[in-house]
Subunit: 278 residues, 2 copies
């Protein structure tokens, strides 16, 4: 893998920032907002930001970059597709429960549903994410789906995934804005910037930084998982060199310097057009 150290630094930064954001969300709802419960009251509402941040943002971010982890390249792509789909499914379940929590809270408190821009963008993101999940499983995990369909939809699948991820973060920023205005009305008001306001504003910034790091990893062509075909041909080349060493194990590839150099070379050739300056 090219720039392996840079990859590790950015990946671990994303992990750290994402986990700090979850810790911030936990402290926000437990310390500032009265804790968690499933009672139709404010404590039920609190599941809404917590599950969206931990599931719909953090887990979705992990699901997006799971193919990029070089230590998974020794596993069959199909296994990684299941990991990708499962993480997205868990993120979707978190998102649905988070959405139910706010509807319950609104209904109990006689607050209308679906009036804010936050709710419009947020619910659209949940529905489109569910659609993306169903289409993704249908296209890339069902054995009978024609390869030509898989190829034709891949750019849309990838783009929709990244765009939805960004939209979910944007929806969370709107949600934070709403919640701080509604819960800090007077003594202190949001505009007086009390500790809770600073704390939750920082949470918002952490979500933006997490998004930036995940999208950087996801859009580096040189960090893409090499194609199965390429892994096989590399393996065959090496196999013919070392004589009898032919078998199903591709486990050495991600460790081998030879493999890495070969990846780099092919990548350089194929990325020429992307990295051109003029």
């Amino acid at each position: 893998m090219e720039n392996y150290k840079q990859f590790l630094v950015i990946l671990s930064s994303a992990g750290v920032v994402g986990l700090i954001a979850i810790i911030f969300a936990i402290r926000w709802v437990l310390y500032y907002q009265g804790g968690l419960a499933w009672d139709g009251k404010a404590a039920e509402f609190n599941w809404h930001p917590l599950l969206h941040i931990s599931g719909f943002i953090f887990l979705q971010g992990v699901a997006i970059i799971v193919y990029r982890l070089p230590w998974t390249w020794k596993y069959n792509k199909l296994i990684m597709k299941f990991v990708h789909a499962t993480l997205n499914l868990v993120a979707f379940i978190f998102a649905v429960v988070a959405t139910v929590a706010v509807f319950d809270f609104h209904n109990d408190a006689n607050i209308p549903n679906m009036y804010s821009l936050h709710s419009w963008v947020g619910l659209a993101a949940v529905i489109l994410y569910g659609l993306q999940l169903v289409l993704g499983v249908g296209l890339y995990l069902m054995p009978f789906t024609p390869v030509s369909w898989r190829a034709a939809f891949m750019p849309i699948h990838t783009y929709s995934g990244l765009f939805l991820f960004g939209s979910v973060i944007a929806a969370a920023l709107m949600g934070i804005t709403e919640k701080l205005i509604f819960s800090l009305k007077t003594n202190p008001a949001y505009k007086d910037l009390p500790p809770q306001a600073i704390f939750v504003n920082i949470l918002g910034l952490l979500l933006v930084i997490f998004g930036a790091l995940i999208l950087w990893i996801a859009t580096r062509q040189s960090w893409k998982r090499p194609s199965e075909q390429f892994l096989h041909s590399l393996h065959s080349d090496r196999g013919s060199e070392v004589g009898s060493k032919v078998g199903p194990s591709l486990s050495q590839l991600s460790d081998g310097v030879e493999g890495e150099e070969a990846f780099g070379e092919v990548r350089r050739r194929n990325n020429k057009f992307e990295d051109q300056v003029n």
Copy 2:
């Protein structure tokens, strides 16, 4: 150009959606919010959303995709760099004036500045956009900048540009949320979804759709402007075929079927890795 019809449909959709968003912003501030002025009052605030939407979002979006317009490929890349930089400079000026407007309004009304997440993300975006502009001019328009620097910074320049564009839209969505809550407090309140609320929520959705279309165009490798080197070599090949036709004009390239097919072929070869399914 590959998928030229799809390009035209998406480009014109982006143009239409962006212009409708500007019309919505004009109607919002003129009809619902009391018009425009530069008096430190609400009418000065109104420049804030209007200039951000028309300049910092719409013009920035145009600046991002200006290299992708195939009818500009006949012009020297340097000319297009100036167009790109000028559009970004105008967008930056709009953003600065829009920011001054809200500070003026706050100061006049004794509302604190810089307390909300919207203001933190928004001001960070304006400052980073200014930095991006200065670095962009220094790297890509100063003749003495080493080519190796240009190449090394290009992925960062491109990524930062697209990420900032997304962040500005996210900041606008937070701003819309704030403004609707503050200006629709009672009779009618935002939660009662009066016409202004529906109208401005739709404006928010238009901004999201505009962002989606611009980012789709900007991230299609096959719609990239071909490199100067490639345009030259294609021209030379054609020149040798037709004998004496050698000269500075590359103007036929974007119209010529032969040219388009050649682009397509090279692109196909270079995009193999990107579009792989496995």
